[in-house]
Symmetry: C2
Subunit: 353 residues, 2 copies
């Protein structure tokens, strides 16, 4: 007699960054140090309890309409999901069904190979160069799809729009996904490529620049046809992904553009200050256009710094693999006070070695 286990999908899941439950300085999951817009709070207060007994609008029209307006597209160009992970997972399931491998960088968001494994999608990773830059020529061969974050994670390195346009134009046979989770922190969006190419999907999230990781909102902008394929798969998986409260708070965030810009600018300013301090302490890093810095010390091992910071209640992110990045730490940008304390403690750790 066989066991049900022989017919079960066995996978090694993605491991999210630790969510410590005690009071700490949390610079390990690229969260925004500022709260969401006060309009988000108001939207929550305005929720009518009785409205929750009903299913939400499966078409998510209020949020899709707000996003379409914000980006200057039609509603049929917008797809929303439960965080950008949901949007990306659904996109892998929908678009990456070729027998040819999909391509993505060797050092990148660590979920791409997890999704490929989950859906049994063949893939090839392409090595970043010594400066952690993506090598355009690596992406020229025929393939089953391409996914690249811009700026890349955990390096923070951004490429210009023309770089992506060349890739998109060269690959009408597959969908090219540009994962713009961090684009609001100072790099240029590829969203306008959607007006010209039907095979490019730009994915965004409310988790970083909109300070709403706790709400789970992601979205994609693509051609009408691409969005139709994606929506059909999504409606075949779960018709009602976005709950009533989430739809309301998503719209509220989009409506407060002044607050959004103010807080993004604050993060950028703190990041630039932090870069200067890290350099003084003997760190090197690729120039980050995101809300984190991927830094390596000239002499002190990353694992040592990581553990010492943790003892002091400061969490940063460490990736042991691949070997090339095993001496780097990914440091999310906190408030000015948090980063001052982080730099103080880091300085003590370095001087104490």
């Amino acid at each position: 007699m066989t066991s049900w286990k022989e017919n079960a999908r066995e996978v090694v899941p993605y491991t999210p960054g630790e969510q410590p439950k005690t009071k700490v300085i949390k610079l390990n999951t690229n969260e925004n140090p500022y709260p969401p817009s006060p309009l988000v709070g108001k939207a929550i207060s305005n929720i009518q309890l009785d409205s929750l007994r009903k299913y939400p609008d499966p078409g998510c029209s209020i949020l899709i309409s707000a996003l379409a307006k914000y980006h200057g597209f039609n509603e049929e160009n917008v797809f929303v999901g439960v965080g950008s992970d949901d949007v990306l997972a659904m996109s892998f399931l929908t678009f990456f069904n070729s027998k040819k491998p999909i391509f993505f960088p060797d050092i990148t968001y660590s979920f791409y190979d997890v999704w490929a494994d989950l859906f049994r999608i063949p893939y090839e990773t392409k090595a970043l160069d010594k400066d952690f830059k993506i090598v355009a020529s690596d992406y020229s061969g025929e393939c089953g799809g391409i996914v690249i974050p811009n700026p890349n994670a955990p390096t923070g390195v951004a490429e210009p729009v023309e770089f992506f346009e060349n890739i998109v134009a060269a690959h009408p046979e597959c969908v090219v996904i540009i994962d713009e989770a961090y684009v609001d922190f100072g790099s240029k969006s590829c969203v306008d490529l959607v007006r010209k190419y039907d095979n490019v999907l730009v994915v965004r999230t409310f988790s970083k620049s909109r300070s709403m990781a706790g709400n789970r909102i992601g979205y994609a902008i693509g051609s009408k046809e691409l969005i139709k394929y994606l929506s059909d798969c999504k409606f075949s998986f779960n018709s009602y992904t976005m709950d009533t409260i989430t739809l309301a708070v998503g719209v509220a965030s989009i409506e407060d553009n002044a607050y959004f810009k103010e807080k993004v600018d604050a993060v950028i300013k703190t990041r630039e200050w932090t870069k200067g301090e890290l350099t003084k302490l003997g760190f090197t890093f690729p120039d980050s256009m995101s809300n984190f810095i991927f830094a390596k010390h000239e002499s002190v091992k990353a694992t040592y710094i990581f553990e010492e910071l943790k003892k002091r209640g400061i969490y940063v992110r460490y990736f042991s693999k691949p070997e090339r990045i095993s001496d780097y730490l990914r440091i999310s940008i906190g408030t000015d006070d948090e980063m001052q304390e982080f730099i103080n403690e880091l300085s003590n750790i370095i001087k104490g070695v």
Copy 2:
């Protein structure tokens, strides 16, 4: 040159019931007519805006712990998702990977064949008998998995626990999913089978009996090993499915058991009254143990009644396929006032023919 469409997954998605945007009596999506517990409202008011900038607990521990306690299981026996559709979709993806077909009834929740198509899972439907009862012997052959709702939808017919125990015990080679979306409305749960069998998964939702369709909460109870497989796949798809507010309101609902029982009893009482009125008007129906009644009139066509009700602002659900049920209407149970108005209008329609 090939097109990206050749490598895209093309599917025919599930069509959810209409969500009319004007004031109507909505008896078409099995929503609860009563609001969620006042504790849910309190939990929403207590949300700290600043907490939303952080990722939610990926382990969903407060909600899983509340559910484990409620059902008398350990936390490792509980899985939560974005509505029971999310839980079921993830379960199909995780457990139904055999080349043998999975089995489910021919008349049942219309999402099962949609998921099977999406994930390319072979399936065989088994015909209900003339009284819309499930025929146990149909489920005896070796198969890739089994999924049955209890009570079944859209019939409302429930089977006893022994019926399911026989199926579960006969199929150690596959996972048997019992979809208990409507079980709180008067039938017996199979949840205790989990204490005895490692291949049974019981799936539940907050959308019906807990009046929280707008919040998107579903869950599953299963053996530790089954839940581990399911969680691993879930964490490979999306680590953060349950948002901070949803986790809090889920716990609040579980904590208010008195309110829950009161409202479930009210729905049952209204359902029994409605059964009597429908009989007087010449309808027949299988005896429903859910929050809807699946009814057929002795002489007036379902499509006619459906359209006439709609003109009067009353929405019920009509399924044109399969042929056997094309003269039935699925009527969700509303408040006493709503059902009185529904019966009045229905009476006018029948008499006017």
